[in-house]
Amino acid sequence: MHELSITQSMLEIVLQQAAKAKAKKVTKINLIIGEMTGVVSDSVQFYLDILTQETIAAGAQVSFTLVPSQGKCRKCGRIFTLPEFDWTCPDCQGKIIDVISGKELFVESIEVE
C-alpha cells in the first residue's frame, strides 16, 4: 500500500521538474530504489498510470535501479551484501553491522519531450 503515497510524492517532484524545463510530455521516470524499502515496481507503475491521467506525465514508464542492501562490519570494516538472514561479517564473523545502503528512495532523472 505504501506505494501510493510514494508514487504521489514522486509525481509531485516529476511534474515540478518538468514544468521548470517547460516540457510538453514526460516519457520516462528513472528511480533509484533501495532493496530494503520493499517498494514494488509494478505497484508504482500501476498507481502512476492512475495518478498521471490528464497530466503531462500520462503514459510515462517507470524504470527502477535497485540498490542492494549493503552492510559494513564495525570490527574490520568489510563491506558486504546483506543476506536475508544472519547479518554476520564473512571475514571476521563480526556481529555488529551498520547498514550503508538499501534504504534509498530517489528520483534520479526524467526523460521529457
Binding site: 505504501h2 510514494i6 520493499g38 528512495l105 532523472s109
Partner: protein, 216 residues
C-alpha cells in the same frame, strides 16, 4: 531530453516532519512513534505506560488507524488528551497528518506525546513524522523470525518492547535467538520484555522512557 533530478522522494514528508519537530521542541514535547504489526499490543502497552507514568509526566496521545476511533476512546478513559487520525486506507502515518493532530492538542500541557502508528511493519519505518524516539512493539505469538522478515523496521527503531511474555510457556518462541538476531540487525537497540496482562517488565520500560525524555 533527459533532466537530472536526484531528489529524495520523501523530501516533502521530511520537510513537514522537521516543522513538527520544531513545533514540539518549542513546547518541550518529547514525541515517541510507536509501531507494530496489528494485534501486537500497541494500545495495551500505551495504556500500561500511561498508568505507570501517571503523576510523573504529562502525557498526550495520537492514535493512528485506518478506520474507527475505538483506540482513542479507550485511551481517553485515562483522562488524557487524545486525537484520532483515520488514514482512510493508507497503511502508515505521514508527517502532514501529525501536523494537523498537533494543532488539535494542548501542547503546553503535554511533556510526552505517544503516537500510535497504523499496525504494519513495512511502511511506518520509512516515514519520519518528527518523532524523538522510534519504538517497536513485538509480541511472542508473532514468532521469533520477524526481524529477518522486516529488517528495515528492526534496524530503524531505538527500542523494542517484546510484549505477551506471559505466553512464553505455551508458544514456540526462542527469546535468546530473538535477542541475538535483533542485536545483530540493530546493535544500538534497547530491548524490553513485558506482559500487559501481568504487568511484568512495564516498570523498567517506563523508567527508561522517562529517562530518555529527561535526557533530551
Amino acid at each position: 531530453m533527459e533532466i537530472k533530478v536526484l531528489k529524495n522522494i520523501l523530501g516533502a514528508n521530511d520537510q513537514i516532519a522537521a516543522k513538527n519537530r520544531e513545533l514540539m521542541a518549542k513546547h518541550e514535547v518529547f514525541a515517541v512513534n510507536v509501531m507494530a504489526s496489528p494485534g501486537a499490543g500497541k494500545t495495551s502497552v500505551l495504556l500500561q505506560t500511561i498508568r505507570a507514568l501517571k503523576g510523573k509526566t504529562r502525557i498526550g496521545v495520537i492514535e493512528g488507524d485506518i478506520a474507527s476511533s475505538i483506540d482513542a476512546e479507550t485511551v481517553a478513559k485515562e483522562g488524557i488528551p487524545v486525537v484520532q487520525i483515520n488514514t482512510g486506507g493508507e497503511c502508515h502515518l505521514e508527517s502532514f497528518q501529525i501536523q494537523n493532530a498537533l494543532n488539535n492538542l494542548p501542547l503546553p500541557d503535554i511533556d510526552l506525546l505517544l503516537i500510535e502508528n497504523v499496525g504494519n511493519l513495512v511502511c511506518p519505518a520509512e516515514f519520519s513524522i518528527g518523532e524523538d524516539l522510534k519504538v517497536m512493539i513485538a509480541s511472542v505469538p508473532e514468532g521469533d523470525d520477524k526481524p529477518y522478515k522486516y529488517p528495515l523496521m528492526f534496524n530503524t527503531v531505538d527500542a523494542i518492547v517484546l510484549n505477551k511474555i506471559d505466553l512464553l510457556p505455551y508458544v514456540k518462541f526462542n527469546v535468546e535467538g530473538f535477542t541475538k538476531t535483533v542485536k545483530n540487525i540493530n546493535p544500538k537497540v534497547e530491548l524490553f520484555k513485558v506482559s500487559c496482562t501481568t504487568g511484568e517488565g512495564i516498570q523498567p520500560w517506563a523508567k527508561w522512557l522517562l529517562a530518555r525524555m529527561k535526557s533530551k
